[in-house]
Symmetry: C2
Subunit: 449 residues, 2 copies
């Protein structure tokens, strides 16, 4: 066989034509979303006032194994996909490991992360339904940026409630969203009842993701014409479905190279990237055709898998959403100011939670200084400056490769490099200047019931 | 023939194995660099105290048509190359033009621009010569970032003199260089005689590229062990040589697609990107095998080609460099604070200057507000957020496509998208907020002799 290239790109014809629905492969399905008032499973009509119709269908679909990708979404994907599967020759050499290391790089688009895969789908279905706007919240800004880009491409107005502290500290993120025509509001704002209430009670507040969600949902449902919906970039089953394109491309590329992964590693906040990366590999595992190890990496400061509890909980802080059965630190849990903003979520994808509870995957946590150490090492060797979120997976892959070295095992490690860190330079500067601290929550801070 | 894909990637085996030296194809060679003291052509030994030996050889080589790319450089290129040739279907549709529009995208690497192509080569030769450090200057930061990345990969210390105003206004750029291990000094600094002199005379100065060059050169030549050299990211013939990889990949991809370009467009500051993009196409034109139109786009605020004079001039403001025969606005010309920092240079590549003077190419200038208008349009349609420099070429391509529409001509337009604008959001914000102004220098400000 010829040597494996540094980067493997599929042709556009080799791109997947359908998303993979992990739930369709699970014998033990995840427990359904519950209406907190009735404690009964949410029916479609309870969800469609908030979410797009087609997206609710996808959310509730636990039988179909594959769902066709509409052509306009495929065409949009071709603006930045297929993404490369990279052989990390430099990293292997630097670690002096017998392991082969590959990573799927999702950062080669202006939004800088994999979030665009679901943003495109959600905007498309909103357009198809004849809606006139979508609302969302954003913390660090990746999701808001992705949604703004998709909104520009499909001519769908996007309103982003951006957590106030990020709005002020990351003006460049906000500017990027403005370039793509999105309107960006610092949350809490005086444009919603939820925002006004918080502002009255806490005039100097920095805002929070919980509050921004409440504002975005209120802005959607209070449209008198009922032509606005709310969209969300992680946690939901539909998001994992759209993100399965990451794993499907990865698997096609590995198959072309004749390579079979032994260990797959991804960072996990709400689970969108990890759920997407592992999709086809987990499907094989669920069918008993594979014994690939799958490892979720999370921050020690927000350890849903490793220290949370598997139970029903609210998806937001304000307790306005349906209840989801998931690994959770409690919806009142306040994550510390870890720089991996995208991993600062109290809960975890219900699908991944079920798979983890059923022992189909493992989880591991790292502190942020060890993660940044891995990030700087990776940047200097492999060239790409990784996002703090993605760097959790890098640290996981480095440790797995060193374990192979210790044991003399020539395993194949595949990890997800979800995005780039251009907007996270303040965090890198703190790390390089020795000013980065770690925070690990006490047991008392985690809400175990 | 099957439909042309959105993106064409060469395989790593299809990547060029040799750079193309345009001078080798020119019957009328550019005039040589002159020593200002003797007014005689610079000999190799006059240049090697400042530049690496092998790079001086390349600078003075006007006969070889191709120069082999050493394997370690090729391996480094594989970390981020081949870069995609993109068919701008969205832009064609939005403009409703019969023209086909393609762009070669060089922004898919952490340095965010094509500068890495020459940085890798220059750092490699410095390493091969057994040097212990290189120095350079950077204005906006693209070149410094590229050099830092290459320095990290080849384990070569890099010292960057960064124009003070950029150092202070673009801390994130500086932080990226720090991640890659480069030391970054605000210029003027108290680490050189040149810097101390300027600081004494102008205590509150913001710095300038001219001063930063003087400091970087002094820092190189004053190394008592004589193991340090100065490197430069544009203007020089050697830089155009390294950048020819852009055009060679572009030509191979177009040939694979069976497409022949009618018009090639690139932005021009010092000429590194344009010279690289056009290399093989210009070679054919010089051999009489092609009549492709080649158009350089420059800012109206710094119009070397369109309003400068073809004569011998210094390459720096402090008049310490050899004299180069080039289109120049005069080495005392102070470009206005145009946001396309990479295009703010008083001179132009001597090779391109000669080709322009011999009518092998055309030039055109635009004001920055028309350039940013094109940039925002492009971002919303094609997804990628372009650098201000690159956006000059976008504006040129849009106008060429509209001309095709007016005339009903189905021409093939190829332009160079040199980089991304993630670190230029302040400029986008000014544009979107209607606070961007244009400056066109008066005839009196341009130093015509």
């Amino acid at each position: 066989m010829s040597e494996i290239p540094y980067k493997t790109y599929l042709t556009e014809n080799e791109m997947p034509k359908a998303w993979l629905n992990i739930k369709g492969f699970m014998k033990n399905k995840p427990d359904p979303l519950l209406n907190p008032a009735t404690m009964k499973p949410c029916a479609k009509e309870e969800l469609t006032p908030v979410f797009c119709d087609k997206l609710v269908d996808q959310e509730l679909n636990s039988t179909d194994k594959y769902i066709e990708i509409p052509k306009p979404i495929l065409d949009f994907y071709k603006l930045y996909r297929p993404s490369p599967l990279v052989r990390a020759y430099g990293l292997e050499k630097a670690l002096d490991t017998p392991a082969e290391i590959y990573y799927k790089f999702e950062g080669n688009n202006t939004s800088g992360s994999h979030k665009l895969n679901s943003a495109a789908a959600q905007i498309y279905y909103a357009k198809e339904q004849g809606l006139k706007a979508v609302t969302t919240e954003t913390g660090a800004g990746q999701w808001g940026t992705a949604l703004a880009m998709a909104g520009a491409a499909f001519d769908m107005p996007v309103k982003v409630y951006m957590v106030k502290v990020s709005y002020e500290q990351k003006p460049f993120r906000r500017n990027v969203m403005n370039v793509y025509g999105a309107s960006v509001v610092a949350s809490p704002s005086d444009t919603t009842n939820a925002g006004r209430k918080i502002l009255a009670e806490h005039p100097g507040t920095n805002g929070s993701l919980g509050c921004a969600i409440s504002e975005a949902v209120e802005a959607a449902v209070s449209d008198p014409e009922h032509k606005t919906r709310y969209v969300l970039g992680s946690v939901l089953d539909q998001v994992l479905l759209h993100q399965s394109i990451i794993g499907l491309e990865t698997k096609t590329a590995l198959d072309k190279l004749g390579v079979k992964p032994d260990i797959i590693i991804g960072c996990a906040g709400g689970g969108s990237n990890l759920g997407g990366l592992i999709a086809p590999f987990m499907a094989e595992k669920l069918e008993g055709k594979s014994d690939v190890r799958i490892i979720a990496i999370e921050p020690a400061s927000c350890p849903s898998f490793t220290r949370g509890q598997y139970r029903y909980d609210f998806c937001d802080t304000a307790k306005t959403t349906p209840l989801a059965k998931m690994y959770t630190l409690g919806c009142d849990f306040i994550p510390s100011a870890n720089h991996a903003g995208g991993l600062r979520y109290h809960g975890m994808s219900p699908v991944l939670s079920k798979l983890y509870d059923d022992k189909y995957m493992e989880a591991k946590s790292y502190t942020q200084t060890e993660v940044f150490e891995a990030a700087v090492k990776f940047a200097r060797i492999e060239g790409t400056l990784p996002a703090p979120e993605s760097s959790h997976a890098i640290k996981g892959a480095i440790d797995a490769a060193l374990e192979c070295k210790a044991k003399g095992e020539k395993k194949v490690i595949v990890f997800g490099l979800t995005g780039t860190g251009y907007f996270d330079m303040k965090a890198y500067d703190e790390f390089l200047g020795g000013r980065m601290s770690d925070y690990i929550p006490t047991d008392a801070e985690i809400n175990i019931e």
